[in-house]
């Protein structure tokens, strides 16, 4: 197991470098010039711009800039925003906790509601309630999250007046409820379907018959023997899902005006603030890599048949 973790950590290095490099290169290729944009409509001495660029290291070749960026990362230096001169780390520190809170909230919603729905349907596969759930999940998957967001906003904020259409800068848990539900709904549908299939399939397994023949009470047959087996694929999905929720938050944050990384990235893209974009994407990639490693390890714990060498 230790060797496996070590190997996985080693494998993460090229993936991490590759992903950040990819985003870095794309930002490098962005049209427009952030330094020139600073000056606005005024005409500025080209020499002055060149000096500024030199100071920021923007005149170096791509690989050199990337190298500087990487070495900076090791000192928790995410670079500086060109326009404001504000450290990118500060922007991230402002925005990231809010997005993490939103994503975690959505994640919890997904896990609790999705698994319950899946078990509920899977235990009685091919009945009316199973079909009902299937249709509901199909709808949740088909309606893009921004449409769902608008519908939620239209219904609960404008029509019923239950919630505020926008989330304040504090982003309280209660304010985040609707955005979290919207953000989590797609994953919720997948989790529910995966759980349903898994439960329905394991229900037919021989060991379930054994558990009944042992005279175990139904809640133990379902709660221990069925669930322990059925949750394995669901956990695997959930692991990669947290990263996806962080990435997907961009859209939801836009609709509900949440001051998270989605907004930050969006703003940074428009102002050509490469460092901010790369910094945020880097963090999301790290979250993704770490969670997928954790999930693989958890997988081995849940399923003793898996052996990592």
């Amino acid at each position: 197991m230790g060797r496996y973790v070590a190997r996985r950590l080693l494998q993460m290095i090229p993936v991490f470098l590759g992903s950040t490099m990819l985003v870095f290169a794309m930002m490098y290729a962005l049209p427009g010039d952030p330094v020139r944009a600073l000056a606005g409509e005024q005409t500025v001495d080209p020499a002055q711009i060149a000096a500024m660029k030199h100071k920021l290291g923007l005149d170096l070749p791509l690989w050199h800039q990337y190298w500087n960026y990487l070495t900076g990362l090791f000192h928790w230096d995410f670079g500086t925003e060109i326009a404001s001169g504000r450290p990118v780390a500060d922007t991230i520190a402002d925005a990231f906790p809010i997005t993490i809170r939103l994503a975690l909230f959505a994640f919890l919603f997904t896990v609790i509601v999705g698994i319950s729905m899946g078990v509920f349907a899977g235990l009685k596969a091919d009945t009316l309630r199973d079909r009902g759930l299937l249709i509901l999940t199909l709808l949740l998957i088909s309606v893009p999250s921004f449409v769902l967001g608008f519908l939620g906003q239209y219904l609960f904020a404008f029509q019923l007046g239950w919630v505020d259409p926008n989330v304040s800068a504090e982003a309280n848990w209660s304010e985040l409820f609707l955005p979290a539900v919207v953000l989590g709904s797609l994953s919720l549908a997948y989790v529910a379907r995966l759980t349903r299939t898994s439960v329905a399939e394991n229900l037919r397994a021989d060991y379930m018959r054994t558990a009944v023949a042992k005279g175990l009470p139904r809640r133990r047959v379902v709660g221990v023997h069925l669930m322990r087996n059925s949750m394995i694929p669901v956990v695997t999905f959930l692991g990669t899902d947290l990263g996806a929720l962080l990435g997907g938050a961009v859209v939801t944050e836009g609709i509900f005006n949440v001051q998270g990384v989605g907004r930050a990235v969006f703003g940074a893209l428009q102002h050509r603030e490469g460092a901010t974009v790369v910094g945020i994407v880097t963090l999301i990639v790290i979250v993704y890599l770490v969670t997928s490693l954790l999930v693989d390890l958890l997988y081995a714990v849940l399923d003793p048949r898996i052996r990592y060498a």
């Binding site: 054994t210 023949a213 042992k214 005279g215 009470p217 023997h225 003793p304 048949r305």
Partner: protein, 352 residues
């Protein structure tokens, strides 16, 4: 703990219809499955009984209803699509089909236990064998985790699994096939039930291991004086272990007999066919007999005797009238205890 049934302490291995009253009695049991293509009648009026210390072998091809009957006894039929329209299953005189779910659950595992064919898929793959064995004691006896574990180790010792203590936390896939089947047996044995139903317990095993497992099962049955229903399609397995045999075909019992008599003189053409299809050393060089045709489709069981399309002796009556399971007698009319045959021509079969 009533290991020894008071009413059955007169060993009566050869006569099951004595006054002591059997441990388990199946009466006119019918089971059907409602499928998309129609109703499959899997069991059509099965009668059999087992006493304490007795071994009943139920013999038949796949689809003969032998496993379905066992599942009905255990109460582990999938219902729906399964349904029991008619019949009684008496355990110590009480009809289990009329009991509440909770009452039946109390019987399962404690009074009647089951051993399944494929131990690898029948054991939970993600729980350690120690947990699965200990669960019996924790759930039924309310034991602590620690005590249950000690009991589980003792059980594994009892079924002669080497290094039980070290292997208690291993998972089913880490054991060999024979060892896994021993674990299944240990699990069935855990609460010293009155009756064990073994559904093809050795089919999935190597021939050498088969004998070991069968011997173990027979030994444990003797030690605990349990009733045993041994379901199999293998006549060879049966001979050494069983006291009596019930042969099933298309959901009916077509012949019953004490074990050794059936080998000598079968009273049903189907049994005869089965016996003749066993390879024998003294018939080296001869072509092996095989019953022609296929087992019947349970959705469309042939009219009359279900075996008639495959039977060499079939006459017109076989295609119209269902033969009842009637007592088999000697040529002179003396009763052959425990023998019965559901064939219009049983006389010709046994005597001719």
């Amino acid at each position: 703990m009533t290991i020894i049934d008071k009413t059955a302490d007169v060993p009566a291995p050869r006569g099951s219809n004595d006054e002591s009253g059997p441990l388990l009695e199946v009466r006119d049991l019918h089971v059907e499955f409602h499928t998309r293509d129609g109703v499959a009648k899997a069991v059509n009026g099965v009668n059999y009984n087992v006493s304490a210390g007795e071994t009943l072998a139920v013999l038949g091809e796949s689809g003969s209803g032998k496993s379905v009957t066992a599942q009905a006894i255990m109460g582990i039929l999938d219902m729906p699509p399964g349904r029991i329209p008619k019949g009684e299953i008496l355990f110590r005189g009480q009809d289990m089909l009329k009991m509440s779910n909770e009452e039946r659950r109390q019987i399962r595992g404690q009074k009647i236990a089951m051993i399944f064919q494929d131990a690898l898929s029948s054991l939970n793959p993600v729980l350690s064998v120690g947990y699965q064995l200990g669960e019996m004691f924790r759930v039924h006896k309310g034991m602590s985790k620690k005590d249950a574990k000690a009991k589980a180790i003792a059980l594994m010792d009892r079924v002669r699994i080497p290094a039980a203590k070290e292997r208690i936390n291993d998972y089913p896939h880490q054991f060999s096939g024979g060892m896994r089947q021993r674990i299944m047996i240990a699990m069935a044995l855990a609460l010293e039930p009155d009756l064990i139903i073994a559904d093809e317990p050795t089919t999935a095993l190597d021939v050498t291991v088969q004998a070991q497992v069968m011997d173990l099962l027979a030994e444990l049955q003797r030690d605990f004086n349990m009733g045993l229903i041994l379901i199999t399609h293998d006549l060879g397995v049966v001979a050494d272990v069983a006291d009596k045999i019930a042969v099933m075909y298309a959901g009916r019992i077509v012949e019953t007999a004490p074990v050794h008599e059936i080998y000598k003189r079968p009273a049903h053409p189907y049994t005869k066919g089965l016996l003749e299809s066993i390879p024998r050393l003294d018939q080296k060089g001869q072509e092996l007999y095989a019953i022609k045709g296929l087992p019947p489709n349970l959705l469309h069981v042939p009219s009359g005797c279900a075996f008639n399309p495959r039977c060499t002796m079939a006459q017109d009556i076989c295609r119209t009238d269902i033969p009842a399971l009637l007592p088999v007698t000697e040529r002179d009319g003396t009763e052959l205890v425990g023998r019965g045959s559901a064939c219009h021509f049983w006389k010709e079969t046994i005597h001719g």
